[in-house]
Structures are given as structure tokens and as C-alpha cells.
Symmetry: C2
Subunit: 185 residues, 2 copies
Amino acid sequence: MATGTREAMLSSAIRLFRERGVGDTSFADVLAASGAPRGSVYHHFPGGKKQLVSEAIRSAGGYVAANFERSTDGPAEMVDRFARFYIRELERTDYREGCPLMAAAVAGAKEEAAGPAANAFSQIHGALTDSLTKSGVKEPRASSLATLAISAIEGAIVLSRTEKSTEPLNQTREELAQIYASVLA
Amino acid sequence: MATGTREAMLSSAIRLFRERGVGDTSFADVLAASGAPRGSVYHHFPGGKKQLVSEAIRSAGGYVAANFERSTDGPAEMVDRFARFYIRELERTDYREGCPLMAAAVAGAKEEAAGPAANAFSQIHGALTDSLTKSGVKEPRASSLATLAISAIEGAIVLSRTEKSTEPLNQTREELAQIYASVLA
């Protein structure tokens, strides 16, 4: 039950960050959304909001990074799966929920948000670069192709959200598929 | 002088949004940063913070969009200039200031932020698509190449900021240059 409350608070925090950003999410919002009792805040997160933010972004980033690191897909499939995941997420939430890592990263001054986001991006980039080199792409091209795909998908999530349309993500996905196909051919 | 105060508040608001996001920027922060007297808030912005946010993002977006719309450069140069602009901005501010449109767009629930950001992205996309079609690229490819470039640069600004390195932006810039060169060849 204690773990249940803690997990519920973390997942509510992640959802609220995705919806409205880190700065606009208060502890009170997280309590209300998770149904956790007020007393649970400092019981579960003695470091206060900073700890909640840091753990929530670490958890969200770990989830995304693990999907890349454990994947046995080739690089083109990894990229396509990442784009399709967010197309589904935007459709599922009526364009309300973006990427928690972007929400954390733009809250630049907050090291508790930006730090775990930077780590997750670096893990994703490492996994995709490895997959590209295993498929025969040499460095430094592998690294820069990984950066292009991550940047483009993250940017397209934001464009799709503001337009309330999956078109930017679908266009980006198709362009990346062409680039990866031509490099991996 | 009245105009001076108003302009100072708008430019301070844009800078603070770029640094820490929209949700973490209060009216008091904008007053402190701009040196505007407390009484000027409702004098200049009778609609309160919503009006300030909306006007600041409209102003920042208008600036970026005008740079695209008035450009006589070809599409490859437009994209390269946009990437280089943010490389310089990140270096100038020691990676503190990102793109105001991204900061506005991730504050999804705030229509006063997301609306003007969506308009600006749409203007930039339109200008770049036009430039691509004028250079002989057919639709729908022109639209999707424009989306790829805007998404990738916006995403790479965030990656560069979290890594405190211009490498992601430089890598993205080089990949986009290759893609645009091959399509425009």
C-alpha cells in the first residue's frame, strides 16, 4: 500500500508534467491526481518536490531508455517504433500528453528535472548509435544519425501536439525511414 | 517611456520563458527582471499574466517567422541559418536560453502560450515549404522536408541545452544539410 501510494504519485506526476510542464505542476496537483493522502508527501518524498520531480523524470526516462537498450530491433525499426509510440500516445490522450523528457528539459534551471532528462537522452542516443554501428554505419555518422532521429521525433511530438494532428510526426517518421533506409542499404 | 516599460516586460518575459519555461515564470519575476514598477502590470497588461504570455510568445514567434518569411535565401540556407542562430544563442547564454516556442508549446494546457506557438510554427513551416517548392521540390515532399527540419532543429536545441554542448545541433545541422543537398541537387 505504501509502495502503491508512492507509485501512484510518481505516475500522476509524470502525466501532469507531460500535460502542463514541470513548473505548472504543484505537489497539491499530484496529491489530487493520485488520490494520495496529504501526509504521504514527506513520508514518501522527504526531499520534497525536488525529489518527486527527480524520481519521476528518472522513472519516465528509464522506461524509454530501457525500450531502446533492450531492443533487438535494427536501428530503423527502433526509430519507427519510437515515433509510432508517440503517435499512439497523442491520439490516446487527445494531444494532451507530450514527452516527459522534453517537459523536464525545458525547465532548464531545475537541475532535478534537467539532469535526469539529460541522462535518459544520453542513454537513448547511446543505444541507437550502438545499433547503427552494429548495422555497419561508421562513427561519427552513427552518432549524428542517432541525434537526428531523436531530435526530429522529439521536436515533431511538440509540433503534433500544438497542431493537434499526427501529421508532423508521420511526416518526420517517413523522412527518417527514407534516410535510415538509404544509409543502411 | 510607457512603451519602453511594456517592451522591457515583454522581452524579460521571453527571456525567462526561454530559461525556465512558462509555468515557472511569475509576474513578479518579470517585474523584477525588467525593472518595471509594480503598477505597470495591469496598466500595460489589463488581461493579466495570460495577456503577457500571449503577447510575449506572439512577439517571439513573429520575430522567428519574419526571419523565414522575409528571407531571400534558398531552403537549405534558411535551415542552416536557423540552426546557426540557436548555436550562437546557446553559446551566448551558456546554454540557459532555449527556444521560446518550445517553452510555450510544452505548457500544453495554456492556450495563451500554445496558441501563438502553434501559429508561429505554422508560419515557419509555410515559409520553408514555399521555399522548397520554389526550388522544385513537389508536394507533399516539400511539406514533410520542412517538418523534418523544424522538428529536428527544435529537438536538437533541447538536446544541446541539456548536454550543455552544441554537438547535437551541429550534428543535426550537418545531417539536414546532406538531406537538403541531395533533394535539391
